[in-house]
Symmetry: C2
Subunit: 189 residues, 2 copies
DNA sequence: GGCACTAGTCTAGAGCCCCTAGGTAAAGAA
DNA sequence: TTCTTTACCTAGGGGCTCTAGACTAGTGCC
C-alpha cells in the first residue's frame, strides 16, 4: 500500500491530459484513479466530487488560454493584436481539444469570477483600444469577438464546415480581415 | 402488462421535452422509461442504444430550428431577413434550451448529411443573396454568420455576458447591425 | 375457438460510474 | 518509541447502460 502521492493539482493535470486524449466527457473519477493505480474511492480524499474535478480542469484550461493569449498579445496592437489573439485561442483548441471542451463548462457565478474569464475580457478590451470604440460599443464589440471566435472554433471542431471544399484556414484568415474591417468601421448607433 | 404504445418518434419527442425541462445531459434511457411507466430494458427494443436517442433528439432539434428559420425568412430580404433568421435561432435556444444543447451534439458525417444542417446552410446563403457576395466570400460569410450566431447564443446561455451590466438584448441588436454593415462592406480579398 | 407467429414488455444480471462509511497502514511529530 | 495525522483501502448502495432469455398481448389463419 505504497502512497501514490496524489494531490489536487496532479489529479487536475492528469485529468486535463486525459481529456485531450479521450475526450472531456470520458474523464471519470474511476478512470483517473485507474491511471494512478489507485481505487476510485481514494480520490474522494482529494476531491469533493466528480464535478469539482471537471471544474478544476475548466479553470486550468481558462488560465492556460489566457496565458497563451497574453504571450501572443505582447508588443502587438491593432489588427496584428487581433490576429495574434484569435490564433492563440484557435491553436489552443486544436492542440487541447479536451481542455477546450472543459473550458465550455457552465460555471456558477462565483467560480466564474475566480476564473481567468476576466483576464480574457480585459485582453479583448486591450485589443479594442486600437480601434477607439466608446461604450457601449466597446462592450458590444467584446461580446461580438468572443462570440465569433468561440463559435468558429467550436463549429470547426464539430465538423460543421466539412461540407464545403474551402479550407477552414482560408476562411479563418478572411474572418479576421472582416472583423478588423468591421471594428474600423463600426456602425453608428 | 398492458402495452405502452412506444415508438421511436414518441420516445424522441418525450426525450426532447425532458431535455428542455431537466437539461439534455440528464436525459437517460432509465429516466425516459420511468416517464412512460416502463422498464428501461423495454426501450432497447426501439432504440439501439442511448446514443441513438441523443442523436435523434439532435436531429429533431435541427429540423425544428430549420422550420422556424424558414418561417421567419418567408417574404423577407436584406437586413430584414438577416435579423429574422438570427432571432428565430436565438428564440429557439431560449425556448428550448435542452433541444438546443442536443443540436450541438457531434454527429458523424453520414448523420450530419441526413440532418437539416444543409437547409440551415441554404437559408444562410439565401440571406446573403441580398448582399451580392461572390465565392469564396460567400462561403466565408456563411461560416462567419453561423459562428457568430452560435457563439453568441451559447455564450449568452452559459452566462458569459453576465459580468457587464449592458443587456444582452441590446448587444444582440447591435451585433446584427454590425453584421449587416459588414456584409454590405465586405473587405476585398 | 384454437394455433402459430410476431411484437412488445419484463426479469435478471453484468459492468461501469459516483459516492459514503469505516478500517488501516504509512509518514511525520513528540 | 508512541501518537497523530494523512492517505489509501475495502465494502457496499444506488444509478445508468445494455444483453439474454422469458413471457404475454395481439394478429392471422384454419
Amino acid at each position: 500500500m505504497a502512497r501514490a502521492g496524489l494531490t489536487v493539482e496532479r489529479l487536475t493535470l492528469a485529468a486535463a491530459e486525459m481529456a485531450d486524449e479521450v475526450g472531456f466527457e470520458n474523464v471519470t473519477v474511476t478512470a483517473l484513479a485507474r491511471r494512478f493505480g489507485v481505487k476510485d474511492a481514494s480520490l474522494y480524499f482529494h476531491l469533493r466530487n466528480a464535478q469539482e474535478l471537471r471544474v478544476r480542469v475548466a479553470m486550468l484550461a481558462l488560465a492556460e488560454m489566457a496565458d497563451r493569449a497574453a504571450d501572443a498579445l505582447a508588443g502587438r496592437a491593432g489588427k496584428d493584436a487581433l490576429v495574434a489573439f484569435a490564433n492563440a485561442y484557435r491553436d489552443y483548441a486544436t492542440r487541447h481539444p479536451g481542455r477546450y471542451a472543459a473550458a465550455q463548462l457552465q460555471l456558477d457565478r462565483e467560480t466564474a469570477e475566480a476564473s481567468a474569464a476576466r483576464r480574457h475580457a480585459e485582453m479583448t478590451r486591450a485589443i479594442l483600444r486600437g480601434y477607439r470604440l466608446a461604450e457601449p460599443d466597446q462592450t458590444d464589440a467584446v461580446r461580438l469577438l468572443h462570440s465569433t471566435f468561440h463559435g468558429y472554433v467550436s463549429l470547426e471542431r464539430a465538423g460543421g464546415f466539412r461540407h464545403t471544399p474551402r479550407t477552414t484556414d482560408a476562411t479563418w484568415s478572411r474572418t479576421l480581415d472582416a472583423l478588423d474591417a468591421l471594428l474600423r468601421n463600426w456602425p453608428p448607433g
